[in-house]
Symmetry: C2
Subunit: 258 residues, 2 copies
Amino acid sequence: MKTLIIYAHPEPKSLNASLKNLAVATLESAGHDVLVSDLYAMNWKAAVDAADFGPAASSPLQVPRDSGRAFDSGTLTPDVRAEQQKLLWADTIIFQFPLWWYSMPAILKGWVDRVFTYHFAYGVGEHSATKYGERFGEGTLAGRRAMLSVTAGGPESHYSERGINGPIDDLLFPIQHGILYYPGLEVLPPFVLYGTDRMTDEEFPDVAKAWTHRLLTLDSTAPIAFRRQNFGDYEIPSLQLKDGLEPTGRTGFGLHVR
Amino acid sequence: MKTLIIYAHPEPKSLNASLKNLAVATLESAGHDVLVSDLYAMNWKAAVDAADFGPAASSPLQVPRDSGRAFDSGTLTPDVRAEQQKLLWADTIIFQFPLWWYSMPAILKGWVDRVFTYHFAYGVGEHSATKYGERFGEGTLAGRRAMLSVTAGGPESHYSERGINGPIDDLLFPIQHGILYYPGLEVLPPFVLYGTDRMTDEEFPDVAKAWTHRLLTLDSTAPIAFRRQNFGDYEIPSLQLKDGLEPTGRTGFGLHVR
């Protein structure tokens, strides 16, 4: 495997750092190639602005169009082009981050906002009577796999089916489906650690064992069965799920899993 | 009213800028006080790091604990303290931003990550047999109201109950419930514009009319009826919704609306 780890935590002695370091060591020991984008160490620029697009930036700035022009003409900034190249190099992409306010840290959202440009991650493929662009199952990153590895401060029950935070699968849906599956990545079930605010060093060996097991079984792990956009499940162009396809009682985000 | 507008778009001639400008003009004309945090113009720092906490930063850095110590001792950076003061000044907070990758732009997530510190927005109140801290209906910002004003590039059908992106209410739940309701804000139904990728100048007058109407009726708009945490709906400390409280067939995030 060629694995790219996108890592977002400011503290090199944090639990997130330990999980990232363990992933590198485990995968390399198993003979795989690993690259890490350590966003804090890279001082990653988080905010999209005109400077991202070089001479392709128009005035007034139009983020989607201008990012696509910059992508097409090769005038995206070197930091963004390097991340796009890493994504194309990899067959497996792991995201390691703490769940802050039920989503990713800003620095990682800024990696998505800036690297996932028009014509690279969206605005790909043609629109027709049977196709609404190449996305959700097709796209630039099709054939690659992604997985979230996430730490959550609160206990697991708060993220359960009836838990006050909402179910973890739903909280992660905008990321797993909306960000990762959109440009074609197959998404493996996430590795989620709960209660990390109160986790002690004594608990780390069990965590490490579980994480190592996930890492060494990536190849045989089935991805989440998100529905593909252009293969008959959705009306086009309304992109509403066709009647009768949902399992009984399934609503909301769950409709989009086969 | 005292309204704080948190605005996140890089282009002063964008649709988001027009909506922000219209909100300022409309509210001021109606006799209200308005403050704007224009995050791009402020060059807002998005990434949480040790520099945020001054002498309260420990090594290794512990983001929740250290942010709380910095809050308690008044050593948060001036930019963060200023935003906390604006929040305490306001009775109404409007967030104006484009939906990028089904969430907020990184610069706005960085406003949340840095301003919503421990002891200010979380880690507030005591834990007991009947109370799990002051949050979700209680907290520092209780008694204030918030509203999202969001532009979405895709058409409304894609965000509908069966739409491929997932229902807009669910996509916004991690923000409206997890970020805004958590520290005590009441959340008004969002103002969402769809299809903005293809919107023409000719459509703006109708948009402006709808937005003006929402702005002038904020006082009489009922908030989303999210369930309060500490008032009998949830088991404590598991924070699972008690059996039988859900409307028939309601699952997922929808469980947490009365």
